[in-house]
Each structure stands twice: as C-alpha cells, then as structure tokens.
C-alpha cells in the first residue's frame, strides 16, 4: 500500500515535461485531478453542483500504437471482427489492416487513436483496468488553464481549433499544450469520449424548451453563459449530443481515468 501511495505521490509531484520531448512510456503516465464541485455551464443558479471525487487521468490521449496492442490482445476488436453494433464501418478506417497501422502511417503511431467507438474505448479502458471519464470529470480536467503556452483565454484557444481546417495528418499527442494538472491536449487536438456523453441532452434540437435544455437555448440571455468560456462548451456539448455509442469519427478519440485507491476506502 505504501508503495502505491509513494507512486501516487511521485506522479502528483511531477509537472509537465518539456513540450518538445515526446515520451510515451509503456505504462502510460496518469496524473491526479483534484475533483471538486462541478456545474455544467448551462445550468441555472439554483441547480446543485455535482461533487466530483479526485481521480487519476491519462496524461494524454490513447495513441494508435497503444490501441494496436489492445487489438492484438483482443482480436474481437480488430477491424474485420468487430460487431457493427459496437463500431460502425468507419472503425479504425485509417489503419492498413486488422493488426497493422501501416508503414505509410508511421507518423501517426504516437497520434491519438481516432475512428474508435464508445464501446471500443470502454473495452480498452477495462483492459487497462481503468475506465472512461464521466462528463463532469472530463470537464473539470479540461477546464484547467494551460501552463506552457501564451493564451488570452482557453475559449479563444479552442475556437481557433475550429477555425483551422482539419490537418491531413493528425499530430502526435503532447503537441498542443499542457494544463496545470499536467494533462496534455485537453483541447485543440481531438474530441474525446466521455462515459455519459449523451446524458445531459435528451434532444438534439438545442432550442427545445420543453425540458431542462432550455437553458442551453436561452444561453444568450442567461447569466451563466454570457462569457466566452461557454461558447466553446456549447459546441462541445452539442457535439456530444449528436453521438451514438457505435460512431467512429476521425476527430474523436479518448483517454482513460482511474479512481484513486483512497476513494475506495
């Protein structure tokens, strides 16, 4: 037990490595996210915040190389074997074959794996003895400010990502920014799956006023969402609202989280 704590202490003490150095160890580094009270950006002031326990999170998204190991160990998740119910026809479409990313794709070995479904992401996390972050955990982690780039606001940074056309080759992990938790690329590289991606929105017409989503519609006038921070959140929530568990999208990947052992005590 002591050893575990020592490791945890070690992990939590580490801050970001120098940005240029890409070091993806065999066992992916996880960092501690403090947790705390979380409110979605569109709720009213009377809504109670959600209490999020501290947790560990992969410092960067799962890469093609890492996902390949998973597929090799679990052939049911290879391109040709996977059930359509669990992954649509775009599943790993950028890979050469079942167990090859492909020689021509070697510059994406350390890029986030994309074209993976929610089911596949969960299977990967389970295999690693981890789990997908829930929406509140992901948002808390993602809202931490960058520590190694010049920026005016995190939202401006995110908006710039939308305004750039997609790159023909997805950059490697740890190529955008590192936030104060030591988490890389929370914005500006890919979208990431959350466990409860579709929990907040029961309708995808964002102007619907017949349910809780009306705060989303009234955003312009709502006190909670008059700052620019929230416009990017809008897009993120809107994106999640259009997903289904078997969708595989070329800008959507994931990272895993894990409960802190102390949470279980």
């Amino acid at each position: 037990m002591k050893v575990v704590f020592a490791i945890l202490f070690f992990i939590s003490c580490l801050s970001c490595e120098s940005q240029s150095k890409i070091n993806i160890a065999a066992e992916k580094k996880m960092v501690k996210v403090k947790g705390g009270k979380f409110k979605t950006f569109y709720v009213s002031k009377t809504d109670k915040p959600l209490l999020v326990e501290p947790f560990l999170m992969d410092e960067c998204a799962v890469t093609n190389k890492e996902f390949l190991e998973f597929v090799k160990a679990n052939p049911a998740w290879s391109k040709s074997k996977v059930k359509r119910l669990f992954a649509d026809s775009n599943y790993l479409k950028h890979w050469k074959s079942d167990f090859e990313i492909g020689e021509s794709n070697k510059n994406i070995y350390n890029s986030p794996v994309v074209n993976v479904s929610w089911f596949a992401a969960i299977a990967y996390c389970n295999w690693k003895n981890k789990r997908l972050p829930n929406l509140a955990e992901w948002e808390i982690a993602g809202n931490a400010p960058p520590q190694n780039i010049q920026y005016t606001s995190i939202t401006d940074y995110i908006m710039k990502w939308y305004e750039k056309p997609s790159l023909p080759v997805l950059p490697n992990v740890k190529t955008t920014y590192c936030n104060t938790y030591g988490l890389y690329d929370m914005h500006g590289l890919i979208w990431e799956w959350t466990f409860d991606f579709n929990s907040f929105i029961s309708t995808s017409d964002s102007r619907n006023t017949s349910n809780n989503d009306n705060n989303l519609f009234c955003a312009g006038a709502s006190i909670n969402v008059t700052n620019r921070e929230d416009y990017a959140a809008f897009l993120r929530y809107g994106f999640r609202g259009s997903l289904r568990g078997n969708y595989c999208i070329s800008s959507l990947g994931f990272r895993c989280v894990k409960d802190l052992p102390s949470n279980k005590l």
Partner: protein, 339 residues
C-alpha cells in the same frame, strides 16, 4: 315538416359544396394529390435557381445535402472559416413542388469538426427537422417531410450554439413551388443577405476569426449578398436584357439584421411578401426579416447597372452589402433620358 327537411338537405348540400371548394383552394388538397414517382432534387448554387418544376403531380424528392466546413473568401483579401450547406454560402437552393414528399439526406463530411443539423422553415414538424437531422462528422442523417405549404422559406442549422452556426454561414433557401406555378419569367436568380462578425475590421487581410461579442451586440463588420463582398457585383453581376422580367428569390439568413431590400433605379412590379401568397405591386423597398424571404419581380426597362442594396444604407457603403444586375439592350428614351 317537409319544408324543414328540405331546408336541412339544402344546408347540408351547401355545406358539402363549401367543403369541396375549401378543399380545392386550401392546402389540404396538397395532401390529397397522389404522390407518384421519385426523383433526386436538382440543387443550385447562388445566384442560380433550379429550373421551374413542370410536373403536375407530387413526387418523392430526395435532397442530398453535404455539410462542409471550409475556408473561403469573405472579401478580396479576407478569408473566413465558413460552415456551409453544400460547400458554399448561402447553401444550395432547394426547389420542390407543393405536396411533394421530401427526403432530406444530410451528410456531415468526415473532415468536419462539429455536429450540425437542418431546420427548414418549410417543414411542419418539431424543430423543422432539426432534432431529426442532428448529425456527427462522418455520419448522414435522414428525415422526411411533406411540403404542405407553398412559398419561399429559409433553412438553417440549429445545433448549439445556434447563433454561431448561422453566423458562420449555415443557411439557404427552399422554394415550395405552388401547384399552380408562378407565371414564367425570363430570368430567376437566388440572392441571400447575411452578416458576419469578425475580430478584425471590415477589409482586414488574412483569416478572420468569429467575434461572439459583436454577434451579441448585433454589430457586424460585414453585411453581404451571397456570402462574400462583391459575390455578384462587377464582373459577377447578374446579367439581364432590356424588356426581360427578372424574378429574385431573396432570403435573409441574418443572424440578426432585418433587410430593407431595394434595387436602385428599379421599381418592384410585384413582390410576394415574405415569400408567401400575398402580392404587393409598384413599390421600391421591401422588408425581409431575419430568417425570412421574399420573391421580387421587376421588368428591366432601361439598360445599365442596377445596384441591389440593403437600404439601411451604411451596410452597403461600409459593410459590403451590394449586388448588381447588368442590363443590356437599346434605350427607350421615353422612359429615361438625360436632358
């Protein structure tokens, strides 16, 4: 008693006759016409309009629309990341016939970053199709609606945040041609006004970012016809000849401003107000609400260049709101001459 009975029969007969006549005039009949056949809708890019539909029956129409996020010109040296229906701003023009059963296939290209949807004002149904059509990148959504009401309607994206999706270019027009088509004219064009909110001022070079605060303040840097400054002016002016009647299908995508639509040097012979059935004649400026439309007709009497403007005129002189019709032909000096 007998008289009473006769009166009753007479009343019943009148009521029945009324019912029939209402049916033949109202929209209910559109639902009654038999739908036969199937076709893929011909879509057009502004300033062109798909050719008039000559069918005398409704059909099953398939509309294939692609959503494309791409950088294009907003002005000569100014670029902008547009979100589009069909790869252009405004989006592709859809023309169907009253009573048609329309199938919308909305494909969100895999290279796109965001989710999108479509709300067609021509749809009777929740969200105008927005809820049914919300679609993630790389996916295609499909929904069906029956074109019950004829007229010219705006369509637009309705995914959160809606104002931003519209501000980035996601709108177009759908024309539900009435069973009795409008009289044939010489030329039909598609013009859509809209505004853009950029961080940099009007004309600033390079890729411009969306400015949310300017959107909230309703203070655009750009107000344009057909998606960019001078899209249909100068060498891209809309051609016509003297004595031709020009019909403009005009939309206003907004997201904020109401248009005081005017053609300098011409008088509207006919305007189907707000794209509906009511016709007004012989006037100079028509109001087109944000998210609204109008069908405007005018006979071009005199050769020359006719400026199409928003008569909230600073928008024309300082923000780019100008299109042109270039009319060629002989001059009738009884109508217009110098001295």
């Amino acid at each position: 008693m007998k008289i009473k009975k006769n009166i009753f029969i007479l009343l019943a007969f009148i009521a029945a006759a009324f019912g029939i006549s209402c049916k033949s005039n109202g929209t209910a009949s559109a639902a009654d016409e038999k739908v036969t056949g199937e076709e893929i809708a011909e879509l057009s890019y502004a300033p062109m309009v798909p050719k008039p539909i000559t069918r005398n029956h409704p059909t099953h129409v398939i509309v294939n629309l692609n959503i494309v996020e791409r950088v294009m010109k907003l002005a000569d040296s100014t670029d902008y990341m547009f979100w589009t229906f069909g790869g252009a701003v405004p989006g592709q023009f859809i023309r169907v016939r009253e009573g048609d059963e329309v199938q919308i296939n909305l494909a969100n290209l895999a290279a796109n970053k965001l989710s999108h949807s479509i709300d067609l004002h021509a749809v009777s149904g929740p969200g105008g199709g927005a809820e049914a059509s919300n679609v993630a990148p790389g996916q295609t959504s499909t929904f069906h609606f029956k074109a019950l009401n004829p007229g010219l309607y705006v369509y637009h994206c309705a995914t959160a945040p809606v104002p931003m999706h519209i501000a980035n270019g996601m709108y177009g027009l759908i024309y539900v041609q009435p069973k009795e088509a409008l009289p044939k004219v010489d030329r039909e064009y598609y013009i859509m006004q809209s505004e853009f909110y950029t961080k940099g001022n009007f004309g600033l070079k390079g890729l411009q970012e969306f400015d949310e605060q300017k959107g909230i303040n309703e203070q655009p840097n750009y107000v344009v016809f057909n998606g960019s400054v001078n899209a249909n002016a100068g060498k891209n002016a809309l051609p016509a000849n003297v004595n031709e009647t020009v019909r403009l299908f005009v939309g206003n995508g907004g997201p904020n401003l109401v248009s005081s639509f005017h053609v300098i040097g011409e008088i509207f012979d006919k305007v189907y107000l707000e794209g509906g059935e009511m016709v007004n004649r012989n006037f100079g400026t028509t109001l087109i609400p944000s998210g609204g439309a109008a069908i405007v007709e005018m006979k071009m009497d005199i050769p020359g260049v006719y400026n199409i403007v928003d008569h909230s005129i600073f928008r024309t002189f300082n923000k780019g709101c100008l299109a042109q019709i270039k009319v060629k032909g002989g001059r009738d000096t009884l109508i217009f001459r110098k001295n």
